[in-house]
């Protein structure tokens, strides 16, 4: 464990980071205090109840579907002899690389009444009008939930799969010998034990869903974020928008915290877990269903939209466009690497503090530093401006006082602000991933090195970091991929002439010309794929016995 003096320094560093990351959140909360009652009353009397209901339903649906998609596919991959599992294992992660707004755009376009699918059906069956047949309406809460879940379920899949893989298989064996079938054992033992990991993933999904605006907009679904943008841009009342965003954030945090409460104190790891997985042998029919299910997720969440993009790029793009995109791609990678590295570094610091310190409130820095994920990107960007602009002003005022040349907007108008915004926004992802990784390491390891007379940092370097290596890498990867896709913060905070792939694609989408931006979109996806594929290669296989 940690000695007093080091604990103090570490505590200092942890709280410093956490509070720094909290500043924009606090700024937002503070700005919300001035919200006008009158506007709230108007919204409450007209549309707000519907928005809130939609928000709740969307949150519940997306989380449920993501959990169903993610847990079932993870269970199939870890626990059965499904055909093609080596490929499916990593293919199931690919939808992560797809920006949700892109998939939403493509799918709404495709399944719309005027879209190719319904057109083809009408042509085939010679239907004339909507009254001739029934077809699901993609632009509904249900449609939005399914499509958003299709791109977000990999969070659940990844964390659930790791949890299943790390579980002590003797627990499942014990259950079998106590008379439960493989399936029953999964429900009564493996699933409850994976609950913390699934919960972390579900909370990431929830935050991402509810803070989203662009995606639901394509589905013509109005949620609380709609109200936030209306109040800010329509009613020109930023204070009320901040208040609504604060309410949204508190609502999400309430859901996350109450889940954590419900499973408080249930941490456990075997000292010598048996990792020999008993693979369930599937019958032909089961094989068909299991692999069909996984492939459907891969196809719907990745392959189909990707092919659509390729098709568009084929029709509308040329080499010159690709060349023009190169510097843009480098910008994207640059800020994504920065964001991923810093976020992961901070997360490691906070998670280890939480693990090793004796403080009663040792989890606090880690928990509060993740709040930013529950705030819509544009609102966060606003808060970022409100945070840094005053500092910039102070710097310039001082320079002016000493008759020095004014340095301009050092913080708020540079990529510093963008990277900071990303760190604030994605801290929750890195924290969650590394935290769920460290929970897999038995606590006894924390004590062992001290008895060997090894110092704290040697212990961390030689034991914790190597054991956490894959979690650290996954955290980095997730933040990198998210940062590649992220739009609102970079759009609003960037310096002049600074384009990333996502701003480039957004420009064209916002002018209803995704076709022209297909190439950029493909680059976002491909660059996000690289680390996923790399991750898969770095991963060593587990011992498995066929039974």
């Amino acid at each position: 464990m940690i000695e007093k003096q080091k604990n103090r320094r570490w505590r200092g560093a942890s709280y410093f980071i956490a509070l720094t990351l909290m500043i924009p959140v606090l700024v937002m909360l503070y700005a919300g205090i001035n919200a006008s009652n009158e506007l709230f009353i108007h919204l409450w009397q007209t549309v707000l109840p519907d928005y809130i209901a939609n928000t709740l339903i969307l949150g519940v649906f997306v989380v449920l579907l993501s959990v169903i998609f993610g847990v079932i596919s993870a269970a199939v991959i870890v626990h059965t002899n499904v055909v093609g599992k080596n490929a499916l294992r990593w293919l199931l992660m690919l939808p992560l690389a797809m920006p949700a707004y892109l998939v939403a755009y493509l799918y709404t376009d495709m399944f719309d009444y005027a879209g190719p699918v319904q057109r083809a059906l009408r042509a085939w069956f010679s239907w004339q009008s909507p009254s001739d047949y029934w077809f699901f309406d993609i632009r509904t809460l249900g449609g939005a939930s399914v499509v958003i879940a299709l791109v977000l379920f990999p969070y659940v899949y990844m964390l659930a799969r790791t949890a299943f893989e790390q579980q002590d298989q003797n627990l499942l064996r014990a259950s079998r010998l106590l008379g439960l079938s493989a399936k029953q054992s999964f429900y009564k033992v493996a699933l409850p034990l994976a609950r913390p990991a699934i919960a972390i993933a579900a909370s990431l999904v929830l935050m991402e869903t509810l803070a989203d605006f662009a995606t639901v907009q394509y589905f013509a679904v109005n949620t609380l974020t709609t109200a936030i943008y209306d109040t800010w841009l329509g009613y020109n009342d930023l204070a009320s928008a901040n208040a609504l965003a604060s309410i949204l954030m508190l609502f999400i945090l309430f859901a996350v915290v109450s889940e954590q409460r419900a499973r408080a104190g249930q941490t456990y790891q075997s000292e010598r877990p048996n990792k020999n997985h008993q693979l369930i042998k599937l019958t032909m029919i089961q094989q068909l269903f299991a692999s069909g299910f996984c492939w459907l997720l891969v196809i719907a969440g990745f392959i189909l939209p990707f092919i659509l993009l390729l098709f568009m790029a084929w029709q509308y793009s040329n080499i010159a466009q690709l060349q023009a995109l190169l510097p843009t791609g480098i910008n994207s990678i640059k800020i994504a690497v920065w964001a991923a590295s810093l976020t992961t570094f901070f997360a490691l610091l906070l998670v280890l503090f939480q693990r090793l310190s004796h403080d009663r409130w040792r989890a606090l820095p880690m928990n509060i530093s993740g709040f930013g994920y529950a705030i819509p990107g544009t609102v966060l960007a606003m808060a970022m401006l409100a945070t840094f602009a005053p500092i910039d002003h102070a710097i310039n005022d001082v320079a002016k006082y000493f008759s020095l040349p004014t340095p301009g907007l050092v913080l708020s108008g540079s990529i510093f602000a963008i990277i900071f915004a990303y760190v604030v926004r994605f801290a929750a992802i890195a924290n969650g991933t590394i935290d769920s990784g460290i929970k897999q390491i038995p606590k006894s390891i924390d004590y062992a090195p001290a008895s060997l007379g090894v110092g704290l940092f040697t212990m961390l370097r030689k034991i914790h970091l190597p054991l956490l290596k894959s979690s650290i890498f996954v955290a980095w990867l997730l933040v990198f991929v998210e940062a590649m896709k992220e739009l609102p913060a970079v759009l609003l905070l960037r310096p002049f002439n600074f384009e990333t792939l996502s701003t480039q694609v957004y420009q064209l989408i916002s002018d209803e010309m995704l076709e022209q931006g297909a190439l950029g979109a493909i680059l976002i996806v491909l660059l996000g794929l690289l680390p996923i594929i790399w991750l898969n290669r770095a991963k060593t296989g587990n011992g498995e016995e066929e039974v």
């Binding site: 108007h42 007209t46 549309v47 519907d50 709404t108 719309d112 009444y113 005027a114 319904q118 057109r119 009408r122 004339q128 009008s129 909507p130 632009r139 589905f219 013509a220 109005n222 209306d230 800010w232 329509g234 009613y235 020109n236 930023l238 570094f345 490691l348 610091l349 544009t378 960007a381 606003m382 401006l385 409100a386 602009a389 910039d392 002003h393 310039n396 040349p405 340095p407 301009g408 907007l409 050092v410 913080l411 708020s412 108008g413 540079s414 990529i415 510093f416 961390l460 609102p488 759009l491 609003l492 960037r494 310096p495 002049f496 002439n497 701003t503 420009q507 064209l508 916002s510 002018d511």
Partner: protein
């Protein structure tokens, strides 16, 4: 934890990065900085031309939301010189928040009719765009007013995008100016009742829906029609509809503008003024209108051939300031009518 040296390296690298960005900002030689609500690729040809003529480099940042906020926060240290918007409301918002300064240059005031600039010359329109009503060719030639969208004869035959979209809000604002609050609300409710589907998609999507027979009438800006005609795949959609200029027998079609303003703390005022003058020049107006399929505001400059082929029309002479002023009220009515739900 990672070694200390590594951490401090990270920090020093970060400082370096900031410093580089800094020097990049500070090295303002002959530049003009533009904050744009409009996609840069739509204005880039103009800027390239300007740079070629004047040797002044144009830097652009584009965002659709929050530009005013950024400008306000940056205050006196803002690098922005020129603001470009695609909607009167955004322009008026900038004006109301005191983020613009007047430019009384005679070249500008001469080129742009008084209706299309601020009374104190702190903003100028560059182009106008009409809120058209598209109708299916199945209906034949129709004479239509915005008021007709509430007519029961179009029940289940109208498609439109979200009521919260700036273009719709501006239209509703003009309706309030004409009919008053109460009647506009009734109009909105009846309009909503006529919709074939809940408001969704974009302006092109509505035309596509008409082409597919889902509805017969839709609202859409004029330039989308032109853009669809130029797009191989979308041309067949556009071919299925007529573009109509509403209210020709009375007050005229609702018009919105794209415009510009000079930032209050513009650090490169001279260059900025040069760019503004350039943007209202006959050449730029022609090019701007041509690339965007919009109507140039400068007197004497004609729209592109394609745009001109849709015919002459009468525009509503309602002062743009009134549209901006009615905006909040319009939004409230849209909420009240639960238009999007």
């Amino acid at each position: 934890m990672l070694k200390k040296s590594k951490a401090s390296k990270l920090v020093s690298k970060l400082i370096c990065g900031v410093a580089v960005t800094l020097s990049f900002i500070a090295s303002a030689a002959q530049e003009v900085n533009v904050y744009s609500y409009r996609q840069p690729f739509l204005v880039q040809p103009l800027f390239d031309q300007f740079t070629e003529q004047s040797g002044i480099k144009v830097n652009v940042v584009f965002a659709k939301k929050g530009m005013a906020e950024r400008l306000a926060r940056e205050g006196e240290y803002s690098p922005a010189d020129i603001l470009l918007t695609t909607d009167i409301s955004r322009l008026i918002e900038l004006y109301d928040r005191g983020l613009l300064q007047a430019n009384h240059d005679k070249v500008l005031t001469d080129a742009i009719p008084a209706q299309y600039r601020a009374q104190d010359n702190s903003w100028f329109a560059l182009t106008t765009r009409v809120r058209n009503i598209y109708s299916s060719k199945r209906l034949g030639v129709v004479e239509i007013n915005y008021e007709d969208l509430a007519d029961v004869k179009y029940q289940g035959r109208i498609c439109t995008r979200s009521g919260k979209h700036a273009y719709t809000v501006a239209l509703v604002a003009s309706m309030i100016a004409e009919h008053g609050e109460a009647d506009t609300l009734i109009w909105l409710e009846k309009f909503k009742a006529n919709l074939a589907r809940k408001p969704q998609g974009n302006d092109r999507g509505q035309v596509q829906a008409i082409h597919q027979g889902l509805c017969d009438i839709s609202l859409g800006n004029s330039y989308y029609f032109g853009k669809m005609l130029k797009n191989e795949q979308q041309k067949i959609w556009a071919d299925g509809v007529n573009i109509n200029f509403p209210n020709q027998a009375n007050r005229g079609a609702h018009v919105n503008i794209s415009g510009m303003g000079l930032a209050k703390y513009s650090p490169n005022v001279d260059n900025a003024k040069k760019l503004m003058i350039f943007l209202v020049s006959e050449y730029a107006q022609q090019l701007y209108a041509e690339t965007n399929m919009e109507y140039p505001v400068r007197v004497g400059v004609v729209p592109s051939k394609l745009v001109a082929s849709w015919g002459e029309f009468k525009a509503d002479s309602l002062p743009l300031e009134i549209i901006a002023k009615n905006r909040t009220l319009a939004l409230k009515l849209i909420d009240k009518a639960r238009f999007d739900l």
